[in-house]
């Protein structure tokens, strides 16, 4: 099930909320949350719920065993088992076809492709269960002894299928005990409505232009249109994913959980390293804590460590070489930025921002085109196209002009420009606070109207 659907908004969510809030006691509340999370997952993936349960039971048991044998060598073996099983599941269900086809290509064999369909959300929940086992081993928090509470952590529907990748330490206080805090619920509702708008209005409309320029008119693109197409994809992917994260964070707040932020105005970044700190932050935190720092972090082999992290980040996104290339692209620029740290420090902000955005938008082409032949043509179109601008291009530029203004307004980091004590900001915040209920209702009506006409709109990150 997706958040941006009529069935979720008008049936699943109200039923869940009512049953959740009328249930007395934390145990029953957690049970309701778990039950509806499983229904939410089963709506799209009835079979793969078995895999979700298997992973959860395994890591829950391993957590208990690590805790029981803490300090003894055997606990290391339990951790190793968790890492091996989790990564093997990911390799099997996400990368089996990729490895088989590459094996066939290199050795000239012809093993049939397993053809396993990707269980939705596997990349997210596998990382969550894995992080739980590692953190228990590192003795960062006490082991969870209630399977119900553990399952709530893994399968909580707000963040189950597309993140943010929530770490157990972030919700440890809320899982066992949380109170109904109305100011948090209201801020959760505000956040959810904002996320819904970002997805249904901005991302879905950008997707129309993405398909037009990057699929339908792909072979006849002029350079301007090619850049326009990948810029639209940059808009689509940001508002799609950050919209989902906003909805997840908002729903989490309604249920009393405080998830960490996943985005912080990524398109305001001043460098690639800065972008990394602003985009899909929960994944960045995962790789930082479990790969980058254990490899030596900044202390030794930093360039190697950066490259490893980025190659893995790329590969995490999908079983295809273009994602690896995308990761390598970022890795190389991160390293170059480290080398050129001093001269870059003296360059004006506008230059740094332009250079960063150009690279980010260009990298979207690598991200979009799984097929290398198409990518090659696209790069040709971007830099040296023989095609002339089509009739429809100018009419698209003008026909979507209000839309583009809205997108820019949403990308500007207002909260970074105006300090929390700035008078203008305080005034705006006050106006928003008192008008939020009306704004939210209008946004829900608008999104309902748009959803009535657009029944199929999955999130891009569902396939990762």
């Amino acid at each position: 099930m997706v958040f941006s659907s009529l069935i979720f908004l008008y049936f699943f969510l109200p039923i869940t909320l009512i049953l959740y809030f009328v249930s007395p006691g934390m145990k029953l509340k957690n049970f309701i949350l778990l039950l509806f999370s499983l229904i939410f997952y089963a709506w799209g993936e009835p079979i793969w719920i078995i895999l979700l349960l298997f992973t959860s039971i395994l890591d829950f048991g391993i957590g208990l065993l690590i805790d029981k044998y803490r300090g003894r060598k055997v606990s290391k073996w339990f951790l190793a088992a968790s890492v091996i099983v989790n990564l093997s599941l990911l390799m099997t269900f996400k990368y089996a076809d990729f490895f088989t086809s590459n094996f066939n290509f290199i050795l000239g064999t012809s093993f049939p492709l397993p053809g396993i369909t990707l269980p939705i959300g596997i990349s997210f929940y596998t990382f969550q269960t894995l992080s739980y086992s590692i953190d228990i081993y590192r003795n960062q928090f006490p082991v969870q002894k209630s399977f119900l509470n553990y399952m709530v952590y893994v399968s909580m529907f707000p963040q189950l299928v597309a993140g943010p990748i929530v770490r157990y330490s972030e919700v440890i206080g809320d899982i066992d005990y949380r109170t109904t805090d109305w100011s948090m619920i209201v801020s959760g509702v505000n956040r959810f409505c904002l996320g819904l708008f970002k997805k249904v209005f901005i991302a879905n409309i950008a997707s129309i232009l993405v398909e037009k320029y990057l699929d339908l008119q792909f072979s006849n693109l002029s350079s301007a249109e090619a850049w326009f197409g990948i810029t639209m994809f940059s808009i689509q992917i940001y508002f799609d994913f950050s919209g989902y994260s906003d909805m997840a964070i908002g729903l989490g707040r309604i249920f009393g959980f405080r998830f960490l932020e996943n985005f912080r105005h990524p398109y305001a970044a001043q460098s690639i390293a800065d972008f990394y700190k602003r985009w899909h932050m929960s994944l960045g935190r995962f790789f930082r804590d479990y790969v980058y720092i254990p490899l030596g972090g900044n202390r030794k082999y930093q360039y190697r460590n950066i490259m490893v992290v980025w190659l893995l980040t790329g590969f995490w996104h999908g079983a295809s070489w273009n994602f690896v290339l995308w990761g390598a692209f970022f890795g190389v620029f991160m390293i170059l930025e480290k080398i050129l740290e001093k001269p870059l420090g003296y360059t004006p902000r506008i230059f740094k921002h332009t250079y960063t955005m150009a690279l980010i938008i260009f990298s979207r082409a690598i991200f979009y085109f799984v097929d290398f032949d198409k990518l090659k043509i696209m790069i040709g179109n971007l830099f040296n196209s023989a095609n002339s601008i089509s009739d429809g291009f100018v009419s698209d530029l003008t026909g979507y002009s209000y839309f583009f203004i809205l997108v820019v307004l949403f990308c500007i980091p207002w909260d970074e420009i105006f300090s929390p004590t700035n008078k203008l900001r305080l005034k705006w915040e006050y106006i928003y606070k008192i008008s939020a209920p009306i704004i939210n209702i209008l946004l829900i009506i608008l999104c309902t109207v748009l959803l009535a006409d657009d029944t199929y709109n999955p999130f891009i990150y569902f396939r990762f």
Partner: protein
């Protein structure tokens, strides 16, 4: 007071959900002219594949309160996202048919799929001018060559047996009846000219484009459907007559019929509120010839069903009563001449005019037919073989190969003809007619032609 904002939204949502539950569920959407989704029946297979749940989602979407109004408003919202340079024209991009499932439900019952080429070719930019939809042409001249080569193969093989004609129909966007859009002509015209220049004798070219272009400004195509109307197809027929050296029947001498308005396939693709306000009217020009017609299934001549050259529908399906793998028409024109038409849906409106000139016409839909075209030509003594297809079918390697494969001796399934070949070689020419004579008993005269 703190709780009010959250409760307001919850009440709004619950109110809408309650209206949904209480509302009487319609079976058909009158405005969209389609059947609405029904509550799915549970089955283990559907459950495990996820189909059961997705059908429930469809049910909720289809029966959502005020859905059709919301669809209209959504279209208007998307349209008003900026400044529009020209008020009367706009371009919409169709990526996937918005109501694919419903389009299927709309089609007539006998073996008719939604045109494969429609999805492939017409999912793209559509120009909407004054409520009429014009699919933009995206082909190049080079794309005409493979089709011409395929025709050359037929013509060479059938040299001395029958004439082979290319009768390719351009898209409606080539004839937008406003001078300023004449620029859209050139694309389609260049591809058709490339076909002409690549065709080698004895294959013959029908200049459909010029025939239609002479009537530039007339409404020859539908505005909400991707086909041509009776008049456009008639002009194409005159171009065939010119190539074949026969005298076309004057359009004035035919029986004229108009049917009640309809919204066609391009409306289904765009679901555009402006287009909905401009429905099409089918115009039929019916030659005064008596006909009997039967349709066969994809592989066998052993089962047939009666059909009509002019069906009773109010939309394009009226021509040949829609697509069928193979249709045989017999007429009261006793001139001994026989034709075979290889076609996709564009050929339906064209084929109906041929009844004035042949006593027997075999209409083969290359997309669905598994019959061996060469057997039909040789054994029925076909004089003219006409390829009447839309320009997109003439540009795609996939569809061209389908047309080519009709001539293969081991076409997918030829039970009707191949069984006869192995068991009754000596009967030769009469074998099909012998089989048919028993089948024709089931057929009846097409009454619409007699009146």
């Amino acid at each position: 007071m703190k709780k009010l904002p959250a409760f307001l939204i919850l009440f709004l949502i619950l109110f809408v959900s309650s209206v949904f539950i209480i509302n009487k569920k319609e079976l058909v959407s009158k405005s969209e002219k389609r059947t609405l989704a029904t509550w799915p029946e549970f089955s283990i297979n559907d459950y495990t594949s996820g189909l059961y749940f997705s059908n429930i989602s469809l049910y909720i979407n289809d029966h959502f309160p005020l859905r059709s109004n919301m669809v209209d408003i959504a279209q208007k919202i998307r349209y008003h996202l900026g400044f529009h340079l020209d008020k009367e024209e706009r371009i919409v991009v169709i990526t996937t048919p918005k109501k694919e499932k419903n389009l299927k439900a709309n089609l007539d019952t006998v073996n008719r799929k939604f045109d494969d080429d429609l999805k492939a070719a017409y999912s793209g930019s559509m120009l909407i001018i004054n409520g009429r939809v014009y699919p933009q042409y995206a082909g190049s001249p080079a794309m005409g060559k493979p089709f011409a080569e395929m025709l050359n193969e037929y013509a060479t093989k059938l040299s001395g047996v029958c004439n082979v004609y290319s009768c390719v129909a351009p898209l409606s966007s080539a004839f937008i009846p406003m001078e300023k859009y004449k620029k859209y002509n050139s694309g389609a015209q260049n591809t058709l000219n490339a076909i002409r220049s690549s065709l080698k004798a004895p294959a013959k070219f029908c200049d459909v484009f010029s025939a239609l272009d002479k009537h530039f400004g007339e409404l020859m195509y539908f505005g909400t459907d991707h086909h041509w109307n009776g008049k456009g197809a008639y002009y194409a027929y005159t171009s065939f007559c010119e190539s074949a050296g026969i005298q076309p029947i004057p359009i004035e001498s035919m029986k004229y019929e108009r049917r009640r308005p309809f919204l066609g396939s391009l409306y289904d693709l765009t679901i555009d509120p402006e287009v909905a306000q401009h429905p099409d009217t089918l115009e039929l020009f019916i030659p005064r010839v008596e006909t009997k017609a039967v349709r066969y299934n994809a592989t066998s001549l052993s089962y047939s069903a009666p059909t009509k050259v002019f069906g009773g529908s109010n939309n394009y399906i009226a021509f040949m009563s829609g697509d069928a793998p193979l249709i045989k028409i017999t007429t009261n024109v006793k001139n001994g001449r026989r034709a075979a038409v290889v076609k996709n849906s564009m050929g339906n409106a064209f084929s109906v005019y041929l009844i004035s000139h042949y006593e027997e016409i075999w209409v083969v839909d290359f997309r669905y037919s598994g019959h061996n075209l060469m057997d039909i030509i040789l054994e029925r003594g076909i004089n003219d073989l006409i390829f009447s297809v839309g320009v997109y079918a003439a540009m795609s390697h996939g569809t061209i190969n389908m047309m080519r494969n009709l001539a293969k001796p081991h076409a997918p399934a030829l039970s009707g003809i191949s069984v006869r070949k192995t068991t009754a070689d000596t009967t030769n020419n009469k074998s099909i007619s012998g089989r048919d004579s028993s089948l024709i008993k089931k057929t009846f005269t097409d009454s619409t032609n007699n009146k």
